[in-house]
Symmetry: C2
Subunit: 320 residues, 2 copies
């Protein structure tokens, strides 16, 4: 976690009194979630996650995230579900921050995903996309093309301190993507941050998706592009086409991928790689004093951008 | 935690296969324990703590700590108990570190202890002292007078960068304590670090003591002195004699405090305050790159030393 809020005894007690979840027997801060403070909360009835939303999550977006989790759970998707208090509310304040109690999802995230894990991911991603199709609320993706321009402007001046020539390469990439970004692909609610630490497995079986705090409306295929970046590269940045093929095949067994979407995958994947490069670069250049997590290396994503730029077409991802 | 070890998928699986504790359904790093990496481990049978011992805990001391927890649990004391593997061993290696699975203790530590909490603490401390009387193993307290000299020597040169005049005041205090430190008080196994975060409560009732990784053989009254420092000062460093009196009364209802011990309390309390000042000062001056916890302010303990130096006698702690 980037920050960590301590909760006082009395304020926790008062907060929990708003819920009908049993008597608390343990509440421990957990080292999960970069954006928020998370506590594992055990009562005599069940286990929960208590989340305090830190400033990187905009308070006005929280009703979207909470309603989305409620919607997905209602569709039978395995994901954390907001616990509603005695007053019906799922969102209230604790330690001067917005806070919610979320159901606990069993499972662990895998440090080294195998092709089989990628197969499970593809299926779950497609199921998530289908389940979100009739979700009524909207949230624009502020980390799409327009947002990249803002991030780039904030980082450009110091970009070359991270890697020589980085500024020019990013500017040229950004210009190309802006000129060629598609406008007409199937859209809906996307997760937008489906990295391995947001996907839980029990053994080899996927047990659920977590952390919907980047979810927004965008091209569904952009979510696939995020997953190609996040799951299908090896630690040395070589691309594992077996993982990609299994992920894509499992996805389209649930939701067909149109020819337009398939053709757009290399470009969308460049965009997704640029998005993570830019936020990592921003964090790298603006390290927070006292942060509990070291920022991640942005250069990993430069190599991924180059890979997607150099592929001949979607066949590089293992699908015809 | 000062450091945090990531455990790989396969190595965790292999490690857990050594135990008969059920199927793992969750394993989350928790933000508890400054010295070690701790995971909250849930199986389909129970909840456990998985601890990886980092370098600040000496590996050769671990059999003492593990045997002590086994001994205390055998005496019916409420404390975490090492889980023994199928081979009978409680201590093995994980991620290139010594590691153990410990039973999970329900409860939460109190951020703002009340006099009632201090009463519970005094009783539990005395019960712990009695339970440890026939523990056969020995471990010297390397953070007693001799250890303070070593710490002071490491910090002296830069001490005045933290507070002007600190070096001289510490040197004079150290010399006085060395000359007057008692040699003949009742001894046994002490906890030596019984701060509020190592004492769990369920509501107002103490549910157990944790974190025995500073435990050693020393004067039992020195443990009381640690608690006077850790529990009986308010955040503004004023001394709350009500808390002290309740703690001491509850203690001696279980184990009588001899007149010699009582007379030595102000001096032992100065020593205990100096011990925490010196380790905090050392950490302050030697901050670890990438540490997840900011070091604590050493100056708080300078004010506590001065308080104990200025008391007229043990009556200042609320006992005659």
């Amino acid at each position: 976690m980037a920050v960590y809020t301590e909760v006082g005894d009395e304020e926790l007690e008062a907060f929990l009194a708003e819920y009908d979840i049993g008597t608390v027997v343990s509440c421990k801060g957990i080292a999960e979630g970069v954006e928020n403070s998370n506590y594992l909360l055990q009562t005599d009835r069940n286990t929960f996650i208590l989340t305090l939303y830190e400033k990187r999550v905009r308070e006005e977006d929280l009703p979207f995230f909470i309603a989305l989790m409620d919607h997905l759970a209602g569709k039978g998707l395995s994901c954390p579900t907001p616990v509603h208090g005695k007053d019906g509310e799922a969102l209230r304040r604790l330690a001067d921050r917005p806070a919610a109690i979320i159901s606990f999802l069993q499972g662990m995230w895998v440090r080294k995903p195998t092709p089989q894990h990628c197969h499970g991911l593809g299926q779950a991603l497609a199921e998530f996309h289908l389940a979100g199709q009739d979700f009524a609320m909207q949230r624009p993706n502020d980390l799409s093309v327009k947002g990249w321009h803002t991030l780039f402007a904030d980082c450009a001046e110091r970009a070359d301190t991270v890697a020589p020539g980085l500024r020019d390469e990013l500017e040229s990439e950004l210009n190309y993507l802006t000129a060629h970004w598609p406008g007409d692909l199937p859209s809906g609610v996307i997760h937008a941050d489906l990295f391995p630490d947001n996907v839980f497995f029990l053994g080899k079986t996927l047990s659920g998706l977590i952390d919907f705090y980047f979810a927004c409306n965008d091209f569904l295929a952009y979510d696939i592009a995020v997953c190609l970046n996040a799951w299908c590269f090896e630690p040395d940045t070589s691309f594992n086409v077996t993982k990609a093929r299994l992920m894509l095949q499992a996805y389209r067994d649930v939701r067909p991928i149109s020819s337009n979407e398939l053709q757009a995958l290399p470009l969308l994947s460049r965009g997704a790689a640029l998005r993570f490069l830019l936020t990592r670069l921003y964090d790298w250049l603006n390290q927070i004093e006292g942060a509990l997590v070291k920022p991640k290396d942005p250069i990993e994503y430069l190599r991924k951008i180059r890979f997607h730029r150099d592929v001949g077409g979607p066949g590089a991802y293992g699908l015809d």
